[in-house]
Symmetry: C2
Subunit: 159 residues, 2 copies
């Protein structure tokens, strides 16, 4: 368990988020790729999430709405590329409000002593596009997602 | 016209390739998004190119084969994201031999005095993945593609 770590170096185009979960990586991979479970962990605490589409296969599309307290829906979307269960998936993501800022996310799951080290790297088009996400409090959303995922995994039956 | 310029800075994850063409950007955009014309300019001089798939729309897939002198086919593929004619398109690309190394390509066309400034940026997962493309002579393929595109545009009827 423990905290979520971020690696955000000046002048680079990527953000790396790392968290260790107390669950086998097969379980972590299954949970994070299950459309039914996304609303239970993806996004900040204060927003609900609705899965509009989630086709976990190379070339498959995904689209989630973050729903604010007024019922407004704010969409994120992208396409799955490489998928190697239970080790890795690569997908793109973009906020529909800024469609030119596509980012590339690689999630890698490493088996560590009794658990799983989850490493999510997002690469942006530019340092500026990356820094805009930081200013928009992206890491807080990531950290809250990781906390919610840890809680979900703690309640999830291991196979 | 003129030469192809590359911006490849140490420690960064991207490669930027810039070329100015003596054609309006509407024509350049139309040519670079036309599957029929891809074999006439995409790739190094010594390899033929075959378009297996090219769906120029958000979420659409593309897949090209580079064909070597023995007839062996080496595939590149990806997905189109944002497309704003005649200004920009964003797509992913990967060599099928190294599926984990997905890159994000943004092509921007700027109208300049009497011509078009073509800027192609590829962002890679890591500095190492970018440097591997450099070592594999990726910029030479890009430079040759730009020369071939300049020749094609010179023979292409302007609307």
């Amino acid at each position: 368990m423990g905290d979520t770590e971020f690696i955000i170096e000046p002048g680079r185009q990527d953000v790396v988020m790392i968290r260790t979960f107390d669950a086998p990586r097969e379980v972590v991979f299954q949970v994070v790729t299950d459309p039914e479970l996304i609303p239970r962990w993806w996004g900040p605490h204060v927003l609900a999430t609705r899965v509009d589409r989630m086709e976990v296969r190379p070339g498959g599309q995904w689209r989630y709405a973050n729903i604010d307290s007024d019922g407004g829906e704010h969409f994120f979307r992208g396409v799955y590329h490489d998928i190697v269960a239970p080790e890795r998936y690569v997908r793109t993501w973009q906020f529909e409000g800024t469609p030119e800022d596509v980012a590339l996310e690689t999630v890698t799951l490493e088996a560590v002593d009794g658990g799983t080290r989850y490493v999510a790297q997002s690469v942006h088009r530019s340092v500026e596009a990356r820094d805009a996400i930081i200013r928009a409090d992206g890491p807080r959303g990531g950290r809250e997602s990781m906390d919610r995922l840890a809680e979900l995994l703690a309640s999830h039956p291991n196979p």
